[in-house]
Every structure is written in C-alpha cells, then in structure tokens.
Amino acid sequence: MTAAGLYLHVPFCTSVCPYCDFAVTIAGPQRRASYLDAFDLEIGRATARGLRFDTVYLGGGTPSSLGPGPLGRIVGRVRERLDVASGAVWHLEVNPEDVSPVAAESWRDLGFDFASLGVQSFDDAELAFLGRRHGADGARRAARTLLDAGFPTVSLDLIFGLPGQTRDRWRRQLETALELGAQHLSCYQLTVHDGTVFGRRHRRGELDELAEDEQAELYLLAHEILGAAGWESYEVSSFAAAPHHRSRHNQKYWDHTPYLGLGPSAHSFDGRTRWWNRRKLRLWAAALEAGESPVEGEERLDDEALFAEAVMLGLRTAAGIDLGRLRDRFGAAVAVVDEPAVDRLVAGGWLVRDGDRLRPTPPGMAVADAVVRAVLA
C-alpha cells in the first residue's frame, strides 16, 4: 500500500493578511503553549491508525513563526510516535520575516528538505497592498538564505492578478524568482474571499478585481515564461524546475492517496471517508484536553462523489485523467463523461486527448473549473 501524507496545521500568524481565509489566529504565548500540548495529545491519538507516512507537511498559518523549540518538539513527537519512512519528504511553510541563517540551519537540522517561502511578490508596492510584513529586499534575502542553507527544494509562493497589475510587472516577479534559483513556484491568483478584509472592501466597491481576460493573460504569461526556462507546470498553480522538485505531498491530495491532518481545521482522508477537525483553536484544543476526538465532521464518499473528485482533481494536473482507468475503478455506469462536451473542449484547444487520457492545455488549466463542469455529465 502506498504511504500516506501527514499534514500538521500551525494556525498562528503575527498578523492576518487582508486576503487570507485560512484558519489562522494571532495567539499569545499561553494559547501557543496549550496548542502544543493539545498537539501532543492528537499525535498520541493518531498512533492507533497505524499509518505509514512518506511525506510530512507543516503548513498554516506560519509554522516558521513557532521558533526552533516548539517546532523541534512537534517534529520530535512525530518521529517518536508515528511511522515516518526514512526517505520521507519534510515540507515546511516559511514566511520571510522568520528567515535567518540560524533559523534556516535549524530547520535543516530538524530534517526539513522542502521549504515553501511566502514571498508573494518582489515589489514593495504590491507587498504593501497585500499587507505583508516583509518588503522586497527581505523577500530576496530570505530566498537566498534558504537556498544557501542547502534545502533540496526551495519553493516560492507568488500572488498575481492584483488590481492594476501589468504583464511587465508580473513578468519581473517571475524573472526574479528564476534569477534567485528557486526550484519550485506556486503561483496563486489573488482571490477575494467573503469574510476577509479584501472581501469587505470589494463589497463596498473599494477593491476591483482584475478582469477575466487580464487574469488569463497573466496566468498564461507564467506558463510562457516558466516553460521557456524549461520548467513544467504540473498543476494549475504549481510549477517545478524538474520533476523531482514537485511537491510529493500535494500530489497525494490530487490522486486520492490517504492523508492524515492534525491540528485545528485539518482534513484527513482514507480513500473513502474524509473528516475534519474543529476549526477554532480553542474548541479543537478543548476537545483533546477532555480526552475527546477533535473531529467536527466527516463524509463518506460514494463512487459518484469519488469519481467527480477524481475528474475535478485530475483535470487540474498536467497528467489529466485516464478514462479507461476511471472506468476500471468506478465501473462504466459511474465513470461517465459528457462526450460531446469533451469533443468540443478538445476541438477548442482546452483539452488534449491521448488514447483514454485527457490532459488540459495551459489555456485549459486556466479554465479548469469550467472544463470540469462541462466534462462531468
């Protein structure tokens, strides 16, 4: 059986970015301490599952803000209590303001080998708009420090599609990332969510979203520039300098490999059932302290739902979906696609058909949601 992925959610940030809709909180030392205690408890409960992991991912929030002590404690507990394969990839999300040569070295020493750095942009004006705590210089410096520290893969998060962002400006961000020598990029389009500061500003008419055609241009520009540099785009937002720099952990989400999520709001999946923890730090911790499960809900997926997910997730990746395999997995009655729609998508250049395999083209990736809607009968 393929090994599972382990996700550990660290919900802390020093301030909340105006576009962020993650489960994050600005907590004082006390709540951080109770978080770590609760985490121990949850790790303890997880041992019973008997899973073997070959990827471990610390995400958030801002795991790098934990500081070497608490981070070491979590890592130590995981190694101690859970079955993590020796060749596992350890993935850490890092914010620039937490990066220093000392910190980077401590993360390497803890065994992290994939660092995702939340630079978002190398432009001071853009960073100010995004409400980030670092500037362009800090972003560059942090990237260099991580690379110098010898992480096998350094990934940078970039946000595009800011109001008024031009092609040139976006091009400069991508070129800077390449010049710095990053091996992986996650390029996220700025999304305005309800319930965020940007969401409120948008509702009041103070924040314009970029028009669809411009968004598409910026997105395809990333494909163009990174493609020219020999990179691959293996998922709608994910680009790797070479196949071995892909995120093995994220891949598990996209191909229905089981994963276990610990921490507030974390989701888990065993191939059939998906369940999720309480989102609020306090409630999650209280449940664990009371010796109870912190799980808030679960859903068991029937074949129809699994098939829909397989199509939805598969068509977001460069590998696409294999209709023959899906029929084998779910049966011909369930694995049904809207054939005329598929033909139209192929004719329109959104999909490429290769035997039983359907793969999205870059313009197809830009409209993956629409493609999925059309393909599902």
Binding site: A266, H267, M312, G348, M365, D369, A370
Partner: protein
C-alpha cells in the same frame, strides 16, 4: 357575557351600511380596516393578524390587494341601535379594475382616506373619481393624525381644492393608535345611506368576486340588490345562463357564517355546487330561476385577457407539476386562461392569457411560491389581427404562429384609451412618454387647480412592456393610470428573432412595431450578453428580422475560471460546489450547444431603468 355588538336580525335594511375605503397606497387602508374590525369585536384577539383582509401571502408582502374581500361587522352605535356594516375591500391596480368596479357597485358609500402628513395624492384622486362614477357618498377621513408631521389644516385645504369635497366635517383618526375610530364608525352610520333595494322584488344579486374552497368549490361574493337569496333556490346566472342549486348563503365575518337568507342590501357569500371559479363570471347577476328578474344588473363586462405569454417549466421534468398547478390556480382565478404550447428551445409549456402585466406577475409568483415551480416566461404579447393576402383574418398572439410576411396583407393591433391623472407639473414629461409610446390624439383637461387628466390613444403593446413603471418614475408616484380597450388599428409589425450562435430561440421571438424593432433587439442582445456565462467558444447573439441582422453582441469564450488552491480541506468544498452547479446545469437550457441560464430569460423582460 353577551357580545358587545349583538348580531342584526335580517330584514333591517335601514340598519345596513355597505362601504369601501379608497386611499392612496400606504395611507392606511389596511390598518384602518384592521381597527374597524377589532373595535366591532369582529375577530378574536388571538386570531388577529395585521392586514387581516389581505389573505394571500403575496398581497401581504407587497402591500397590494389582488382579490376583493369583504367583512360584515355588527356595530352598536351611539343612537343605541345595532348596525350591520359591510366593508368591501377592493384591489388597487388597473389590471383588476374589473373587480374594483364590481366592488364599488356593491357599496353605497366610501371612506376617502387621506394621510395627514402626505395629503392628497394621485390614487386618492383617481379612486375618488371612480367612486363618484358609481354615485357613492364620500366621507373624507384624515388618518395618521398621531404623526408629528401631520398637517390637518393643509390636508383639509387639499381635500377641498383638489377633490372638491367639503372638508369641514372630515373625520380625524389614527388607525394606528385607535384614536377617532368610533368617530369613523359613527360617520359610516350617520352619513352613509342605507341600501335602497326592495326585498320583495325579484332577486338580483351582483357577483363582485369569487373565492375557491377545495371542499365546496366556488364561493361567490355577492351583494343582493333586491329580493332574497336563500338555500334551496335555483339560481340562474343571467349572463352565462347557467343554473345552480343554492346550498348555503352567509355572511363573511373573516370566516364564513351561514345565515338562513341574504336579503336586499346584504353582502355575503353563496355556495351553489359550482366547481370552479372559472365557471362563473365576475359581474354576472344571480336571479331566481323560478321567478327571474327582468334584466341583469348593469355593468357586466367580460374580463378578457389582453396580454399573452408562454410559460415553460425550467426543467422538463416539472411539466406534469405545471399542469396540475395551473389547473389548481385556475380554480381560484377566473381571468387566467391557458392552452398547451410547445417551443423548440424550451419544450412543452402553456400559452397563457392575462388581464395585464401585474396579473401575469402575480400568476408567475404564485406558481413559484405555492407550487415551487421554476419557470421561464416568453415575452408578453398582445393579440394582433392579421389579414392574409387570401383575405382571411387570423388572430396572433404568439410569434411562433405569425404568418410568413409574404402571406400578410395587413396587420392591426389593439389600441387603448389611456388616462393618466397627475399634478400639472408632470404633464410635459408624461406627454413626452406618450409620444414615445406612439400615443395619438393626446389631450388633457384640468380636474382642479394644479391637477390634470391626460388621455391618449395608445397601442396596448406599448403599455404592457414597462409603461406603468415608467409612468410611476416619471411622475414620482403621483400619476395614476387606467385604461380601456378602444379598437384595432393598422400597424407596421415585424417579427424579431433572437439567434444564439445562429440558432433561433423561439421563446425569445417577439412581435414589435418596426420602429421599435432595433431598440428591442439590442436590448435583448445586451441582456443576454450580461447573463449568459462565458462558455468554451465565442457566442454570437443576434437580433434579426427575417434574414436581416439588426443587432449583435458577442460573448467571448471563457478564459480564466479556476480556483487557485485545491488542497486537503478545499476538496470537499469544491466538490460540493460542483454538485450544486451540476444541478444548476439541469436548470440551463441548451440551445444548439450554448447553455442559457434561466436568469437570461428573466433578464430580457426587465427594462433598462431597473
């Protein structure tokens, strides 16, 4: 404890008063009715709810009255006698003016209610003229005197100057606080005349509305003009010629209270084994088949539908439900007519006829609300008279059946005489609006200082689109509108088709005057451009007359539509959204290979001003 206001024995015509309340919207008609009912002990405190006479949800929500209603109250006056008061609540919109007129005919008097802060307004005037047409005794009542902004003296002046009524004895009240309600009741008793009909003469009873009861069938609301109406009689409906055996008669006291007989001057209900409301005609006269009256009461007019539109269920699976829903609705709505229809784009549906646009909206709303149906309506149309080159006359209200232009000799369209009453200051803009709407022979007369009535002969087709809304905004709500059918006049009609990627969408076709064709086609194209989501390919939207393209818009292919992040927790959410959208996909109509959402069919019917 004996009731405070004991019931009145039949045969006491001199102690009967029948009246309605006429008012501009929001001046407090429903509230006053509530108060009158309460102070006569007409309803148990615990059964009471606000706006009690508006029984349909849609009436209560929109604050409009669609069906007439009546309530009989017992009131012991200061003179020590007990009176039977019939309050008849009338609809307030031109679409239902038929019912309004019938209701007014059943009254001797009217309370003319004026808001003490707002003063006389458009509908106050319009309704007063209507009441005068029926010779009703009018008692001015100034309401909302509790408001700090009440200006009773100014309102009295307006009543005298704008309405020409004597305002010195206007009754002052607050329907909200209850102050002055007894004065209102006393004014009804002392200032309105009793009914005049002869109880011993042959029966004549006017049907002013009808309700539907699932167990008893049609319940006719009527007012006995002369004679007596009682169970066991054989009722003859003089216009339709149908006979029914009277099973029950009674008074409407918020519930039905059966009585041995309704005599001259009574207002009440009749149940006579009539299956549905559509079996009878509002305005018809009931007489006794054994000793019939010589003639029916005057004022009968068939309620003819003037606006036609096709209704399709959003998903074809809902068709059987639509059939059942229309059947049921029809039981309660005599004016609604429908027949089977089908569209290449939308499948099976019904061609329906309505009294006007509000009636159409009400029917659509009831289908949605009471039957949970999601519907698409085609553009409303009037009925045209087409003379073919072969000399035949065909009536066309459905663009699908419009003959080939080569076979048409000439076409005529229905004209109405529109009348608008308004303060003088709006005359210019309203005349302009009428001119825009192809109004002819527009004239005006002064009703009083500063008030004019404008009349204009206009194509009905120009009125059904959005005239009423435009008029309201042009006159800031002060304009009142009424119309009557006039005649048919020659017109230059064309059929405008809407094509989506070259495919005509029959449900979007419409018949319009040639001058209007381009504007209307462009309006449709623009609305479709806004509401059809981007799809995998470019979509051309065109308006055409025959082979000529007169308007065009393009929807580009989709270019960016993808959620940026899709990790552990995002997957469930995203799949759920997808499942919802999949249901939505069923609610899309495929035309050729283009998916058109229901909202597009609705959007095209909205005007630019909305």
């Amino acid at each position: 404890m004996p009731p405070r206001h004991p019931p009145v024995a039949p045969g006491t015509m001199k102690n009967t008063r029948s009246f309605c309340i006429i008012a501009h919207i929001d001046h407090g008609k429903s509230t006053l009715a509530d108060r009158l009912i309460q102070s006569c002990g007409g309803v148990d405190e615990r059964d009471f709810r606000d706006q009690i006479l508006d029984s349909m949800d849609i009436e209560r929500e929109r604050g409009i009255t669609i069906k007439s209603n009546s309530v009989t109250l017992n009131y012991t006056a200061r003179d020590g006698e007990t009176y039977r008061l019939n309050l008849i609540d009338t609809p307030g919109h031109v679409d239902f003016s038929h019912e309004v007129r019938r209701s007014l005919m059943s009254c001797e008097g009217a309370l003319l209610l004026v808001d003490a802060a707002q003063g006389v307004e458009a509908q106050t005037v319009a309704n007063m003229y209507l009441a005068l047409e029926y010779d009703l005794e009018i008692v001015p009542v100034i309401n909302k005197i509790d408001l700090p902004s009440a200006d009773i003296e100014r309102v009295k002046e307006e009543i005298e100057e704008d309405l020409g009524l004597e305002a010195e004895h206007a009754v002052l009240c607050s329907a909200k606080t209850g102050k002055g309600i007894v004065d209102v009741l006393e004014a009804i008793v002392t200032r309105l005349p009793p009914p005049a009909g002869d109880p011993e003469a042959p029966l004549q009873a006017m049907i002013f509305d009808a309700q539907y009861d699932p167990y008893r069938g049609a319940v006719l609301l009527c007012r006995v003009q002369q004679g007596r109406l009682r169970p066991g009689q054989s009722a003859l409906l003089m216009h339709t010629g149908k006979r029914y055996d009277v099973e029950e008669v009674g008074l409407l006291q918020l519930k039905r209270v059966s009585v041995p007989e309704l005599d001259a001057g009574s207002v009440g209900y009749v149940i006579a084994g009539i299956k549905s409301v559509s079996d009878i005609e509002v305005g018809d006269t009931i007489t006794d088949a054994r000793s019939p009256a010589a003639a029916p009461l005057p004022g009968y007019k068939e309620a003819k539908p003037v606006v036609f539109s096709s209704i399709y269920p959003m998903s074809t699976e809902e068709y059987p439900e639509l059939v059942r829903a229309l059947e049921k609705l029809k039981l309660n709505d005599a004016a609604l007519i429908y027949e089977k229809d089908s569209s290449a784009a939308l499948g099976f549906g019904f061609r329906c006829g309505f009294l006007g646009l509000l009636h159409l909206e009400v029917v659509q709303e009831r289908l949605r609300r009471e039957y949970d149906l999601s519907l698409i309506l085609s553009a409303p149309s009037v009925r045209y008279r087409v003379t073919t080159t072969a000399g035949e006359t065909v009536w066309v209200d459905n663009p699908s059946y419009y003959p080939n232009p080569g076979q048409i000799d000439h076409v005529e369209e229905p004209y109405i005489k529109a009348s608008v009453m308004m303060p003088e200051r709006y005359l210019g803009p309203v005349m302009e609006l009428c001119r825009e709407r192809r109004g002819e022979g527009t004239t005006f007369t002064y009703l009083a200082v500063g008030r004019v009535e404008l009349t204009s002969e206009m194509p009905l087709a120009e009125v059904i689109f959005d005239f009423y809304d435009r008029l309201k905004s042009t006159t800031q709500g002060y304009g009142s509108f009424d119309y009557e059918m006039l005649d048919y006049r020659a017109t230059d009609l064309v059929k405008v088709d809407i094509l989506v990627n070259g495919e005509p969408v029959d449900a979007l076709s419409q018949l319009v005057h040639r001058e209007r064709a381009r504007g209307r086609a462009l309006h449709y194209c623009e609305r479709l451009e806004e509401t059809i989501p981007r799809q995998q390919f470019k979509i051309a939207i065109q308006g055409a007359i025959g082979g000529d393209i007169i308007a065009r818009k393009t929807i580009n292919a989709f270019r960016k539509d993808v959620t940026a992040k899709c990790y552990g927790g995002d997957i469930t959410r995203k799949r759920k959204l997808l499942e919802k959208q999949k249901k939505g996909k069923k609610r899309m109509k495929m035309v050729g290979n283009v998916e058109i959402p229901q909202s597009a069919f609705i959007a095209v019917l909205k005007t630019d001003k909305d």
